[in-house]
Amino acid sequence: MKEADFRDNETLELFRKQGGNILVTTLDAVMDWGRSNSIWPLTFATSCCGIEMMATGAARHDFSRFGIEVYRASPRQADMIVVAGTIVNKMAPVLKRLYDQMSDPKYVIAMGACAVSGGPFFYNTYHVIRGVDHVIPVDVYVPGCPPRPEALLYGVMQLQRKIKLESLTDPRKTQNLK
């Protein structure tokens, strides 16, 4: 297995511990701290998972404890897109366009079985995208049908860990992975 094939947060954090340039790493730490604690999601939901996403944002589970402060209705203001629900063939170009309209750095969470793999609509169907990663790159997969709000929160925390490994010189890739 090559170094670049390791995608899990645990290994990546190990790699990062190997050190780097003091100037760059200090800057990185500040930048990552800011980025990971102010991820603004796009108001985007296609079906049932959207309700659980709303529940995550509401009073009991409270997304904003983790800095996922406000849902933005415009993709141009959003950092993260939570693909909540089934993506069908007709919707896929729209989703791609939404993703393209978001400004960098941008992240994707595939929420629910439909977005992860097609879910209950995997078999005997002619219209469902079997996993949203056929259309846009996905950072974190949250399984469940629908996932509990706690599961989405956990997924968001994993995304934050992932963002904390980013480097200024090499965005979207971890340090020391040259």
Binding site: T46, A55, A58, A59, Y123, H127
Partner: protein, 375 residues
């Protein structure tokens, strides 16, 4: 020198132009695309485009057995998941002439009404949010979590439960169920007053909804608008009263009818319905008889050849299930008459001539769930 040509220039106010509302728009509650034809700020006409979440549930049902279909109906109108299940279960039980235990009927009625309250609470959140009141979102979902707790304790999941099976229930209710439901009713009776204080009495909300998007009774009938939206126009269409199923012919509740048919009346219908649902639950919760939670069913359910139809009152209107069976374990054809599809069809009719901001309010008051429209 060049000659100045006077081209015929249209005035901007007269020009009609089209904008796309959706598929990604926070007020369409999903991925509905409305092509709105505007003249200035006034909506001239409107064309809904469906299919952005078409999952082919009807077609998939043809490959699935009846107990499997239950799981697909959950995902149609996910906010009234139990009620969708109920329709299919009733249909299978009617076709096979199964005697369902009394306990099951009681539990189903209570759970249906709880589901209706939860659905209306979420509608209230999103309607408030459409009107610009974010407080509603937090208040409504706070109370909805209480119902979800009850669901989770008894059925093991929060949103999509697949709790009903043909012939009965998946499992028995939790011993705490009755106590928790009674606590909830007590709690929510107080809290629903807050709802009125925050939104119903709000002058901005009233100004924006009264007299907007008026649907007459004749139009409601001819478009087939059912549920609270139809009843707001005076169309007496409550399936629970007209074609009683479960225990609805034995409990005492009112079918609330409006007269105005505007956005505000549609709003008030749902507020009243939450109170009526609580009344139904209170009558039943102490009287759940002991007994089995499921009738004895064969391992493989085969419906006799023929056509079957069953309707129930979902949170948004009349849900009909139509099955053509050829005697095998899967249906030959399955058709859902979803309430949201008919309710959406009236949107063009009632939103002509309103401002585009009012279109959001009208859409919110019709309370559509997009996966139920596209299926």
């Amino acid at each position: 020198m060049k000659e100045v040509v006077n081209l015929p220039v249209k005035k901007i106010e007269e020009e009609e132009y089209h904008i796309n509302m959706g598929p990604q728009h926070p007020s369409t509650h999903g991925v509905l695309r409305l092509v709105v034809s505007l003249q200035g700020e006034i909506v001239k006409s409107l064309k809904p485009h469906c299919g952005y979440i078409h999952r082919g549930i009807e077609k998939m049902c043809e490959k699935d057995t009846y107990p499997q279909i239950i799981h697909l109906t959950d995902r149609m109108d996910y906010l009234s998941a139990h009620i969708n299940n109920h329709a299919v279960c009733l249909l299978v039980e009617k076709a096979l002439e199964v005697d369902v235990p009394e306990r099951v009927i009681y539990i189903r009625t209570i759970v249906d009404e709880l589901n209706r309250i939860a659905s209306h609470q979420l509608w209230w959140c999103s309607f408030g949010m459409d009107m610009g009141g974010l407080t509603c979102f937090f208040y409504g979902l706070r109370d909805r979590e209480k119902i979800l707790d009850i669901f989770e304790e008894s059925f093991g999941s929060r949103l999509l439960h697949s709790y009903y099976t043909p012939g009965g229930l998946m499992m028995d209710i939790h011993p705490n169920f009755q106590k928790e439901v009674k606590n909830f009713i007590q709690y929510f009776r107080k809290k629903i007053k807050d709802y009125d204080d925050i939104l119903t009495g709000n002058i901005i909300m009233q100004e924006r909804t009264k007299g907007i998007g008026v649907l007459s009774r004749e139009d409601a009938i001819s478009y087939g608008v059912t549920g609270p939206s139809g009843r707001a126009s005076g169309f007496s269409c409550d399936v629970r009263k007209r074609h009683p199923y479960a225990l609805y012919d034995k409990v005492d509740f009112r079918e609330i009818l409006g007269t105005e048919g505007d956005t505000f009346t549609r709003y008030m219908m749902r507020m009243h319905e939450m109170r009526e649902s609580m009344k139904i639950i209170e009558q039943l919760i102490d009287n759940i008889p002991a007994g089995d939670y499921s009738a004895k069913m064969k391992a493989v359910i085969k419906l006799p050849a023929g056509e079957y139809y069953q309707r129930v009152e979902a949170a948004r209107g009349e849900l009909g299930v139509y099955v053509v069976s050829d005697g095998s374990k899967t249906p030959y054809r399955m058709k859902f008459r979803s309430p949201n599809f008919s309710n959406l069809s009236v949107l063009d009719h009632i939103s002509r001539g309103v401002k585009i901001a009012d279109l959001v309010a009208i859409g919110g008051s019709l309370d559509y769930v997009i996966p139920d429209i596209d299926r």
